[in-house]
Amino acid sequence: MTGTNPGISPAANGVAPGMHPAVDPAIDAAAHSSAPGGLVKSVVELDRVVIRLAGDSGDGMQLTGGRFTSETASFGNDLSTLPNFPAEIRAPTGTLPGVSSFQLHFADHDIMTPGDAPDVLVVMNPAALKANLMDLPGGGLLIADSDEFTPRNLAKVGYASNPLEDGSLEKWQLVSVPLTSMTTDALADSGLGKKEAERSKNMFTLGLLSWMYHRPTEGTIRFLERQFRRKPQIAAANIAAFRAGFNYGETTEAFAVSYEVKPAPMAPGKYRHISGNQALSYGLVAAGQRSGLPVFLGAYPITPASDILHELSKHKAFGVRTFQAEDEIAGIGAALGASFGGALGVTTTSGPGVALKAETIGLAVMTELPLLIVDVQRGGPSTGLPTKTEQSDLLQALYGRNGEAPVPVIAPRSPGDCFDATLEAARIALTYRTPVILLSDGYLANGAEPWSIPATDELPDLRTEFATEPNGPDGEFLPYLRDPETLARPWAVPGTAGLQHRIGGLEKADKTGNISYDPENHDFMTRTRQAKVDGIAASIPATEVDDPDGDARVAVIGWGSTYGPIGAACRRIRASGRSIAQVHLRHLNPLPADLGEILARYDRVVCPEMNLGQLAMVLRAKYLVDVHSHTQVRGLPFRAAELAAVFQDVIDGTTGTVATLDTGSDTPAQTGAAL
C-alpha cells in the first residue's frame, strides 16, 4: 500500500518500504567495508529499526531485550519498548503459551511508539516463529536458531515439516543460525555442563545483534559482572557467549551487512532509560523527600504492579517503609493507617486489587486523609490478562465505590511521565487531603524510554502542614473545619497534644466530625466532598492542545498510555497534509475546567481507548459532545497506522477531502513522519 500524493509517502534513506535492507552487500548507500578475514562487510545507515526477540519463557528474552535497550539508550537513540510475556512463569518448554517476546523500536529521531510491526524478528524456537511470524512484514529479516528446530519441537507446535528448510519462509529474508550449538561450542572450555552452557544462548544472540547494530558493549559486560558477581563462572560464561556472538557477526558470511542508526537529537541534559514502574517508584521516593513525610507502601503482590513493591523495598534508606500485606485490603488498610499517623500512605495494585480496595478507598474519602492508590491496569474483567495492557479500569477508578465517593484520578502518558504523574498525584492527595487514584497500565509499567533526569531541587514543593493548635472558637479542635480555599480538613497526627479526635466511616457532622445522621448535614457533607474534588480543577494548568497548523476541525482526545500511538498517528495525518488537534488528558477527575470549551471548538472529537469507550462515555455525559469512540482491547497498544486510518476517515468524513493515506497496516511504516 504505497502512499499516493498527498498521502504519506515512504521515507528516504534508499530503503524500500516494508523492507529491512536486504542482507546484500550490494545494497547501496553509505556502505563502507570492514573486513576481518578478507570478508567484505558493508554498513548501511537506517533512520529507525524495530526488532522483536521471541523465545521460550525460560530463554531470557526479557533480559536480552532489556540489555539491548540499555545499549541502545546509552548510544543515544530515541527508543520505545514493548515487552510481551505470558502469565505462566514457565509454560511447557517449546509450546505456544510459553512464548515471550520483547520489541524495541529505536531511531535517530524522536519516536513515540514501540513500532507497529518488527523489521527484524529473532526466534529462538519453532513456537516463537509460529506465534510471531504473522507480525513480520514480507521482506523482513528473520533470524532463527536452527538448533531448536528439531522434529520434536516442530511437532509440539504442529509444523509437519521444518519451515527453515521447506521453502515456506521465502517471503522473508531468512537467516538460520545454530545459535545454541555455537554458544555451547564457545563455552566448551568454560567448565559448564551442556545444559548450563546452553542458557547463555541469549547472550550469544545479544552479541550478534550488538554487532549488527553497532551497539556499545561495555555496559552489558559490566551488567553481567555485576549480576553474577557471586557466580564468577556464570558471569565469565555469559560474557564469553556475548563476545562470541559479536565476533560471529563480524566474521560470518551469513551477515554481510551491519546497520547504523545515528543518535537522535535530544535536548541537552543527562538521560537514562527508565520503565514506567521504575519511574513511578522513583516518583514515590521523590514525593516523600519533597513532602518531608515518610512513605509507607502497603501492597500485595500482583502483576503488573509488583515491581513497584520490589523497587521501593530497596529504598529504606529514604525512610520508605514497605509492607507486604496478607491481602489487597490489608495493603490499603495499612497505608491508610500510616496516613492517619502522618505518613504518605501508598498502595499499589492492578484492577482486581482495586476492586478489593474499594471499601477502604471509601473510608479514605470519608476520613479525608491523603492516600495514593496506584492501579497498574491489565486486561480484565476478573483475572483477565494479567500480563497484557488495557485501560478498562477508568470507570472503576471514577465510580467504583458505594455512595457518592469522588476520588481524583490521574493518568501518566509515557513510562517517564509516571514520575511526574506520581508527584502530581501526591500534590493533590496532600493538598486536598484525599485519596487519589493513579492509573498506569501494563504497557507503561514494563515499557521503557529515554528519560531526562530531573533536577531534584526543581521538583514540586510538597511540604504539608500538620495541625498543631486547636482551631475552634472555644479552644477546641474541629477536625472537619475546612480550609476555605481547598476545602481540605486539618491533618492532626496522633501524638499532637490537645488535638485528640475520632474519625471513621460514619457520616461526619460538619466541623466537629462527630457522628451525624442529620439529613441536612449529610446532604451538605456529600456536596462538600464533591466540591472539594471538583475544586482541584482550579489548580490544574490550562489544557494543551497540540494543533500545529491551527486549523484542525477534528480533535483527538486520549488519556494514559495511548499518548504515543495517538501522537504518532497525528504525525502521519499531518504529514499527509491534513490537520488534526491532539488533546491528552492527565487529569481524569476532575477534568480540566477548560475542556468543555475546547471540545466544543471542533466539528468532530475522536477518542481512542483500550476499553469499550469509557472516557468517551464520560465526555458525552459531561459535555454533551458527540464523541466518536474508537476502541480496541487486544491486550496490546494501538498501532499508529491503524489509528491514523481512523483519524483520516473521520477527517475526510468531516471535510470531504478525498486524499488517501498509507495506513501502513501491512508494512513497517517507513514514512517520512516520525512515529
Partner: protein
Amino acid sequence: MTAIDSSNTESTNAHVHDLGMPAGPDITTISGAIDASIAANGEKQTALKAKDLKTDQEVRWCPGCGDYVILNAVQSFLPSLGIAREDMVIVSGIGCSSRFPYYMNTYGMHSIHGRAPAIATGLAASRPDLSVWVVTGDGDALSIGGNHLIHTLRRNVNLTILLFNNRIYGLTKGQYSPTSEVGKVTKSTPMGSIDAPFNPVSLALGADATFVGRAMDSDRKGLTDVLRQAAEHQGTSLVEIYQNCNIFNDGAFELLKDPNTGPMWTIPLVHGEPLVFGPGGASCVVRDDFGGLRIAESNQVDASQIVVHDAHRDDPSYAFALSRLSTQDLRYSPMGVFRSVVKPTYDRMMADQLEDAAAQEPADLDALLAGSDSWTVQ
C-alpha cells in the same frame, strides 16, 4: 514513652518540614514533620484520671450492655499506664464494640468491617512511638476480618487487641456469629446453627500469638489485670473478653458469672501457680497421655501431677492445650493469661532495617534518579 527528638522542638512553626535538611530523614525519629508537630505542644501530660479519657459523646450502647463495664474498666486502669492521651490511638472495625473509640478521649478511627488490625498495623509500624489499640468483636475479628487478625498476630506488630466476644451479631440484630455454639437458634438459623464455632484463644495461639488472654466483662479485677499485662506486652496482645449482649444473647456467660456455678467451671490462670479450681480446689488440670491436658479431681491425683501454669513457655502447645479444655457450652473456661512470651516486634524490626539501610548508604535522591547507566547530551 514517646521519643521526641529535641532538635525538632526549637521552632513553633516547625510543622513545616525544612527541605534544606540533607536527603535522608533522621529515622531514629519518625520524620521531621511529624516530630515537629507532636513536639509543638510541649510536655506530655501523663498524670491522667479516668474522666480525662471520657469524651463529650453520649454513649449509645443498649442499657445493660456489657460494653459499658469494659469501657469503665479501661478508662479506670489506662491512666495507670502513664501514657499521654495523645499517644494513644484506638482503631476499631464495625459492630457494637467498634463504637468504643468515640467514647475515649484519645486519637481514634472507627474504620470498616474487619479491617481494624490492618489499619492499626500500618499505623503502629510507621509510628512505633504510639500505643495502638484495636477494639473488635467476634464477627468483626473472626469472620470478615479473620485474615487480618491471624496475620497481625503472626507478625507480632505492637498492638493491643480487645476482642469483645458476645457470641452473636448484635448490630445487625441477632444473627449467629463465628463463636456461636452449634445448634444456636437465631434469626438466620431458625433450625439451629450448623457452623462449628471458633475458639478465639485457640485460633490466636495457632497463629503463634505472643500474648493471649481471656477475661470476663463483669470481673473488673480480673479484666484489669489481664488488660494491664496486655498493654505492657511488646508485640501483639489479644484479649478475648466475654461480653454479655443483654438484647440478643442475654445470659450467654451466666454459667461462668453465676456465683454458684462460676467457680466450678472457671479455671483461673496465674503464672507460677498450680491449676487448681472449683469449690474447695476440688478440680485440677493434669497432663493426659497424648501430650495434652485434662481435668482431674484433685483428690484422685498426686499433687506433683497438677500442672503449674507457665505463661512464658516458648512452645505454644501448652497454652493451646489449655485453650482446648473449653467446650462450646463454656464448661471449663480458663480465664487469665494463657501465653506471654517475648519475641521481636514487627515495627521495631522494620525501623531497624531502615536504620541499617541509612547507615549503609545515605539516601541521595539525585544519585537514585541518575542510576548507573546515564548518558549526557551536550
